[in-house]
Amino acid sequence: MPHTFRLYGWMLLAAAAVLLLARAPNYDPLAVDLSAQLRPPSLQHWFGTDQYGRDLFSRVLAAGPLSFAVCGFATLVALFVGGSLGAVAGYRGGWIDTLISAIVDSLTALPALLLALLIMAVLGPSATGVAVAVGLASAPSVARVLRSSVFSVREKEFVSAARLFGTSETTIFLRHVAPNCVTPIAVVAATLAAQALLIESALSFLGLGAPPPAATWGGLLADSRQFIMTAPWLGLFPGITLSACVLAINFIGDGLRERFDPGLQT
């Protein structure tokens, strides 16, 4: 079952990639055409046009790389910040662990949205800002996961064995601990990537997404709200694209989980 899901995931993602790679003919996603506002889907405009007469298909395509960039960068930020905090806390233990755990706890006590809002507001509107905000807001959960998995690997006997050869702690971490934490990281990364797309869309909805005119899928979806009754296609296509991608990433994540540790599936 999970393998089928994973297959669906890859297929959906592949379909999305094909769509992204194919350039829509002749439309600049930013080109305003005031003679073609709010046109429903047609042969010229596959997904219709928005209130400025921009071709929605081109915009959805153009939004893909940015959406993925934001989501990818956010994931990287979360993995880097949360990962290094978690790894240090889990591997060193002791007071360092206590300190880092306290900081991570404080950060969690600050709701992710508030943190993202504040970071976004401070960094100013940019796709990078969104990514950093989303990444930092998700960092505590990565820190937790990594801390516990590093902790469990650290207690493994092959680590003791390496220590008996006089191997340095850094080498032990790099040679033995880190490679064995790749799986939980991969699973967390998939979850995070899916979450990042959704959080970005929520931030867009609250007016704090990646700034126009370039748009992410979340941004397109959030903007479509104004026309939900007269031009439902404006929300439908970005919404379906976004959800399909999140779905795909979630399936991949689930597949990874089932594949690597059938015991722990949360």
């Binding site: 005031l34 400025y52 507001a121 100013g124 704090l208 126009p212 007269t230």
Partner: protein
């Protein structure tokens, strides 16, 4: 409990929820009008705790001596008649007889004097005290009450625009009963003379107004903020709905009767609802593009002119408003009686000229940031379209979408290059000019500094004949076009939508909803 019985319980609960929902009435009570406002009122202290929405709500509760009518002429309100001395320093108001405050007390000159002296007292922190303290010309030096129904305002210098200023709805010069404040001068609540009084204010949710039964409407027909203000509905509830789409949804589902300040882009959606009536009027609010004349690139007038010629104003106005508005190069609204053919003069759309000017200016594609925000859709739409047009002539314009608070803070800080901006309506041309024209180091809000124009402005307020002022305003418009400190794009459109439950409502260019003279029809066959 086994799974089957659990499922049964769930089914019953679901059915119960569905059943309940049928029984819940979502429409307002039969004697209450509900109108959506995008944000809560700031307070109940007129002119002190204020913004446009607070002004609009409190305009139902308090009144001034004079008021603007539908076409922005000054008309009497609490004053029955008034005279201006020929030297322009003495204004005499004769109050209407037999009108009462909402606490039952009669309105006399004593309360008028008290109200105005309170406003002029710096301790009150009346936000528009600068209108009357000489900053902009008018300085009220004394207020006399020769008898209980006569009030005389003395000015330090001649000025013929006191009435226009007093009638201004931006900062209500409200006449209040002294019991509105306590012994130590702290604000309690407004005891005014308007057709409604505040019954309940649940912060963040709604303001409920109740009909003041002792109100005596003026004999003239309803017109703008002037004329008869007949309170027909017993209650008016101003529901705070920050989200425009939610407000529309509420209108369609019958929870709200009136939604104001709609966007042209909503019209298609509104038209598809048979039970909704759409009311439109050209607004005195206007949209503009600000050009920072201190900016290294934009201080070159050639670049500014190039920008001015690169914009297709007709297409912009049409595209941004779905054909609802026409381009207006002037700060004077088409709704204003002062708008004349000179105000129609603007920049021509001439991309070739624009490119030429850019070459002359030696512009080499330096990036120019255009600031906009998403809070006000019109500003955002204009920015998108203007950017697209400017790029066509080779201007490397990038869009910078900021949060409204940030963008607003950038205006007085002059932290911008181009900015898509909007101005709230000024009922009188000079006030419109004065919202952008001034000495920048004295007032950082000012976008345009021109000695000649400042002199013209000064002359306009000491010119007794209204007709002669019009020529001065024309000259000011020409000077503005020549300086290109900002480019006026078009006047906004007031779009209000009303459910068919309501009769007698009309939109007004001032973009102020007026709920007097508005009634609730007998219930039709709508689902309750």
């Amino acid at each position: 409990m086994n799974l089957a019985s659990r499922l049964a319980v769930i089914a019953v609960l679901l059915a119960a929820v569905a059943g309940c929902s049928r029984a819940v009435g979502t429409s307002p009570p039969p004697d209450e009008i509900r109108i959506a406002i995008p944000s809560d009122i700031r307070g109940t202290n007129p002119g002190v705790d204020r913004d446009a929405i607070t002004d609009a709500v409190l305009a139902h509760v308090v009144e001034g001596l004079v008021a603007y009518d539908e076409n922005f002429h000054v008309a009497p309100m609490l004053a029955d008649t008034y005279e201006v001395s020929s030297d322009g320093t003495r204004y005499t108001f004769h109050l209407r007889t037999g009108i009462k405050f909402q606490n039952g007390a009669r309105v006399t000159s004593r309360e008028v004097k008290w109200s105005w002296e309170r406003l002029l007292d710096p301790k009150t922190r009346f936000l528009c005290r600068d209108w009357y303290d000489g900053t902009h010309g008018i300085k009220i030096s004394a207020i006399d009450t020769p008898d209980s129904l006569t009030v005389v305002f003395h000015l330090a210098n001649p000025n013929y625009l006191l009435l226009e200023q007093m009638a201004n709805f931006q900062c209500l010069g409200a006449v209040l009963h002294p019991d509105s404040v306590n012994a130590s001068g702290h604000w309690i609540k407004p005891i005014g003379t308007g057709p409604y009084e505040i019954a309940q204010w649940r912060r963040g949710q709604f303001v409920l107004l109740k009909r003041f039964d002792g109100y005596r409407p003026r004999p003239e027909p309803r017109s703008g903020y002037a004329g008869a203000k007949q309170a027909l509905a017993k209650y008016i509830r101003w529901d705070v709905i920050p989200d425009a789409a939610a407000a529309r949804a509420a209108l369609y589902s019958g929870q709200i009767d009136i939604v104001t300040g709609l966007q042209p882009s909503d019209l298609g959606e509104l038209a598809s609802e048979p039970s909704i009536r759409i009311l439109q009027s050209p607004s005195i609010e206007w949209l503009a593009l600000l050009l920072n004349t201190d900016d290294p690139i934009l201080k070159n007038k050639l670049v500014r002119e190039a920008i001015a010629h690169a914009i297709d104003y007709r297409a912009l106005a049409k595209g941004a408003t779905f054909g609802r508005a026409r381009a207006n190069p002037s700060v004077i609204s088409r709704a204003s009686p002062y708008h004349d053919e000179v105000d129609e003069q603007g920049y021509t759309y001439d991309p070739e000229a624009s490119r030429r000017l850019l070459r002359e200016a030696d512009y080499r594609g330096e990036p120019i940031l255009l600031q906009a925000n998403k809070r006000y859709p019109a500003m955002f739409d204009n920015a998108i379209i203007v950017q697209s047009m400017l790029r066509k002539v080779g201007l490397n314009v990038r869009l910078e979408v900021l949060e409204w608070a940030t963008q607003l803070a950038n205006v007085p800080a002059r932290r911008f290059q181009l900015m898509s901006f909007g101005f709230s309506g000024r009922p009188y041309p000079l006030f419109a000019f004065q919202s952008v024209l001034g000495v920048m180091h004295e007032n950082p809000w000012m976008q345009w500094q021109n000695g000649e124009a400042l002199k013209l402005a000064e002359r306009a307020s000491v010119l007794p004949e209204a007709a002669n002022r019009s020529k001065l305003f024309d000259d000011m418009h020409r000077l503005m076009l020549a300086d290109v400190p900002m480019i006026n794009l078009y006047g906004a459109t007031v779009i209000d939508a009303v459910s068919d439950r309501i009769s007698g409502y009309d939109a007004w260019s001032a973009a102020k909803p007026r709920l007097w003279g508005v009634d609730i029809r007998a219930p039709s066959g709508r689902p309750q």
